[in-house]
Symmetry: C2
Subunit: 245 residues, 2 copies
């Protein structure tokens, strides 16, 4: 990814990834403020609305430029404009979704996408019962048409919501056709060439991280003498465990 980012190097090079990930949060906080007719805001107030430290907010904004007024704060509209431009609000992004199970269908209907400038222009699935179905006015295409659908829509961003086994295959075909940004909901590590950006959202993993903390709160990862076997852990492992003692 590093070589790819060097290759790009546009006008404003070198905004840290961590900052980029927070820009959308600021953007939402700001639009909410605007709806309340608040025109000016200080870094500490905006920071609280965004759930971050005020020093962090100022540093983040400083990467974009000096858009505040000392002694006063930031002009909400102007800041929205400047951050919005960075995040690509000045254009509509065509997006295609591959895999229309429960999750894929929910994503296709998700209002949070269209309200932020993303437009689902195509959907693709293997299951014959899905193909031909209409979601939000767009017809689901067959997986075989994946290539023509991409070139036809010109989408550079794709969402993968297939079962894990299919994900890498689909990914390869997407990249082959020029997709350069992928949001991956499949529980697999995707391998992509330089220049392609992948973000992974693993719902099971998120819960497992919570479970880790939960266990800690309850009294730690007890290295108890007798293991309690449950559906969560495959049976043969329980046997293995006892053998190890």
């Amino acid at each position: 990814m590093t070589p790819a980012q060097n290759r790009i190097a546009p006008s404003s090079k070198g905004i840290p990834e961590a900052t980029i990930a927070r820009l959308p949060v600021y953007l939402r906080a700001l639009t909410q403020l605007l709806e309340q007719d608040i025109c000016t805001i200080s870094s500490s107030e905006l920071a609280e609305a965004a759930g971050v430290n005020s020093a962090q907010l100022r540093k983040d904004l400083s990467y974009l430029g000096s858009y505040g007024t000392r002694g006063v704060g930031y002009d909400v509209e102007y800041l929205i404009l400047k951050i919005g431009r960075q995040v690509g609000w000045s254009q509509e992004w065509p997006v295609i979704i591959v895999g229309l199970g429960n999750l894929g269908t929910a994503l296709a209907n998700y209002a949070g996408f269209s309200s932020r400038g993303f437009h689902i222009v195509a959907m693709v699935d293997v299951a014959p019962e899905q193909v031909g179905r209409k979601i939000n006015g767009v017809v689901v295409s067959d997986l075989g048409e994946l290539e023509s659908v991409i070139t036809g829509t010109g989408a550079a961003i794709a969402v993968i919501a297939t079962p894990p086994v299919a994900a890498q295959l689909v990914c390869d075909r997407l990249v082959e056709q020029g997709v350069t940004s992928i949001l991956n909901f499949a529980a697999t590590v995707l391998t992509v060439p330089d220049g392609v950006t992948v973000r992974k959202v693993d719902l099971g993993q998120e819960l497992q991280i919570l479970a880790y903390h939960e266990q800690r709160k309850a009294g730690g990862a007890f290295d108890c003498p007798t293991l309690l076997p449950t559906r969560a852990m495959p049976h043969f492992l329980v046997a293995k465990e006892n053998e190890m003692k």
Copy 2:
């Protein structure tokens, strides 16, 4: 959150957050290996399967203990056991879902939860047409019963998939009843007391981060003289923009 973590301090204190977030990834890679009847694996091979650096993998595992054999590698089953215990695989976690729109319903049906030891024990929604519906054998309760549902099930982990405006209110009620881990899909910053862990999944934000990178690849955040107004950006902002020049 820091004071909360100090208060906990169980047996194995001080595994870095970044490591914890990767444990589930290792766990899945390992279980896949086991299904292929691979019993032993080196750090570099496992690292590749998990999509990380081999030095990173070794360092991560070293926080849990010395479970490898020098010159050989790791015993897959034993490692699954050890990591699994850390992540809480040794027990079933009851989880409740609040908000059963498209996303909430998809989550309720999501197989990746149950396969990892999470059991949806209750679901809650305000909409009368949702209440009483059965998903995976569990009936959707009315929002008014939220408190009794939590105490009845003893769930410590909750998923919020409500509209943004309702999220903080629901969150407060959850915390009030003893929920200490929350997975938040609502596009809002949640405020919680110390001792409560929140993880946020913002789907729109993920796409915006991709859009940022996409824009960079296409040639940068053009500070172009004429702004192209689109549905993505509210109209009044376009006016503002021109006025600023």
